[in-house]
Symmetry: C2
Subunit: 458 residues, 2 copies
Amino acid sequence: MPFFAGICRCVQVITNYFSHNAIVYTRNRTPLCLTFKTRLIARSRGPSQSLFPGRRWFSRGTGVRFMSHGTAGGQSAGRRGALAISGAAALTAAAAVAGLLANGNHFQRAEMATRISGAVENREQEAEIVERCRRFMSAPVTDISVLQSRKEEMRTKMELLIMETQAEFCKALEEVDGGTFKVDRWERKEGGGGISCVMQDGKVFEKAGVNVSVVSGYLTEEAAKQMRSRGKVLKGKDGKLPFSAMGVSSVIHPKNPHIPTVHFNYRYFEIEEEDGSKQWWFGGGTDLTPVYIDKEDAFHFHNTLKEACDKHHPQYYPDFKKWCDRYFFVRHRGETRGIGGIFFDDLDSPGQEEAFNFVKSCARTVVPCYLPIVYKHLNDSFTDEEKDWQQIRRGRYVEFNLVYDRGVKFGLATPGSRIESILMSLPLTARWEYMQEPDKGSREAEMLEVLRNPKEWV
Amino acid sequence: MPFFAGICRCVQVITNYFSHNAIVYTRNRTPLCLTFKTRLIARSRGPSQSLFPGRRWFSRGTGVRFMSHGTAGGQSAGRRGALAISGAAALTAAAAVAGLLANGNHFQRAEMATRISGAVENREQEAEIVERCRRFMSAPVTDISVLQSRKEEMRTKMELLIMETQAEFCKALEEVDGGTFKVDRWERKEGGGGISCVMQDGKVFEKAGVNVSVVSGYLTEEAAKQMRSRGKVLKGKDGKLPFSAMGVSSVIHPKNPHIPTVHFNYRYFEIEEEDGSKQWWFGGGTDLTPVYIDKEDAFHFHNTLKEACDKHHPQYYPDFKKWCDRYFFVRHRGETRGIGGIFFDDLDSPGQEEAFNFVKSCARTVVPCYLPIVYKHLNDSFTDEEKDWQQIRRGRYVEFNLVYDRGVKFGLATPGSRIESILMSLPLTARWEYMQEPDKGSREAEMLEVLRNPKEWV
């Protein structure tokens, strides 16, 4: 579920870097056709040239489409083009280091060499950002120039990570399904926006949604109160608390009842206080919702998560596994939603880099956690009764998401939210039978037993 | 949706009047088989004799079953039996009125005649209660002896009305569908219980649920706070506020997309204060959720409601129609759930009898509001696309019920609630498509237009 599918204004997507034709939706859903012009890029690569000619940033369905329409060019040409931005500076730096600038004393030369080597590093990092963005499903929510200008900040690192996670996962799913994701880009009036990737009624997946959102603005009094109730002491300047929040979230509902549903969500939040200092924290998790228990799958899923966690802290897996079972609990049914995984929130220790590295490990574990399970059951046959049971479990998924999920509740309660991104976590189809109860000793009863009494899988 | 599907303990259904074999579910859903013995009835009719041998008070599916297993006997025999309870008293009274008791003076005789005529009336009323109960789907939640002992109280009148409404509606639906309702009776540990009638996957109806609940006990502090926030000044004895609440609620989801979904709910609440006085109010409403607009249906539905309302107050229909549009609003979609009807709450004027009579008129309007529409579209043909659109609208129904409906929210938040009765309002199947938007000028778009801008139909 989207953690914060912010208020959407799918109107004008402004970007300084990309030459795009985009069909975007205004609030009343009338399609508009806009053309975005290249600016910065034009300086180094000439007009009408796409920075990323190799990447298909467009969807095949209806909705918002992004189509690069620059000149043709392979991946390597693109890379050269990207590096060309910083060509002049790099040349100067290299010349300095080689001692070709002979008009200074030793110290002057050393100082200049340091400065120049720093500039080289800077340019290389900036080029690296451009290079990373090339692999995304869409241009990042934040302008690349802005990301480059604050490349050391956690906001930038996290936005790149969530965009990368979205792209990696989408591509892995496209490969197994044969279908393609529809990419919708949307804007939030108050700042930021998101990129929703959805594949519906595919060969393997009934509905697959992978959503990124990056929003910023000022905390509402209600949100600040909620933060305080969570133990966060916040002092705003003139009562105002600027915040940045971003995350990637995904729910995948496969068609075959022997392939489980997966959900993950990784997010970052920061708030600026009166004195300019920042409070920040990470949250997230990955969890599995099978229709039938397959102990091998459960072990693989949990063990992959445990290995990722153990690299960072021996308590992470056991603590976050328990937290997951507690969080994904459908109270009125007395059942967990699935067989869990990990879940954590308010992670603000031991340090920002360490916490980020942990989140990075988790995010990079999504594909190895899930895809092997998908491939394993890809050709499993199933009966109508098994499909029915899947549909009933889908109904429970809907119950959890609409009744308990904090992200969904927050999103639905926020006027102007992008509902389609919030509710893309709902399955294509679901079923509610009155007084449905599996036969004793059946595989359905075995599943329920596990949901009523969460197990240790590793 | 059930207004208060109370805390359920489907364990031992105690009744003084009925001889039953019942399969009931304990909380962990293990079926138990219990036999209830007749008591009072045994005095007048002999042992093992059913009071209502004609009425099939049993379900055909799984769940709680009630089977009368007394001696055979037709409807008229049953009637004679029921009247036999008060036979001795009635005879005495008749004799007195005929002047056969000659041993008193004029005043004594007049007084006695009045008393006796009162007693006759009493007995007749008691017999009438028994007679009315015979037509219900199950024995009422409250013992008939208790209902008889407080036959003048509103609690009794309302319980009989909701039981009657349930039975009338169920029978009308059974007639058109050809299927039969499964009748589940459940108990609430703290007092009261309910009767849930569900027909699933019938010929005409995908899922039809008609639920009665009658609960009593003490208001929790939270509930009392909520009441106070609604402007009710409540003074409990030692902080305790005894309450009685009862209602009938129903949601019918037909298979054919040209037959609309209907929902109704009529309820009564009373709270006893410190000085023994009672605060009471009624609530309820009937509303229609079509998949396609049929103006004739909309007119018929609203006009039937309007006529029922107009008999009681000229402002009822216009006010309660508006209230209905406001209440059944899926805020995050900017759509009403359906084309409305009437909705009201906290109705405590002009007097208790008048308010009850209004509610009675509404409850008795359910069948004439809905059934003609069902019959009209019974054999309408439909396409796969129309069925898909119905399924998408079903998804919206689920969204309203799980996210906004007060009754559902209250029920789900109450530990130990009978979830199956609360959620029987959910459709058998539903669908969520990402970014689904009907074509301009289509019948689906026409439907959405009405949901986004509620109309006056009468």
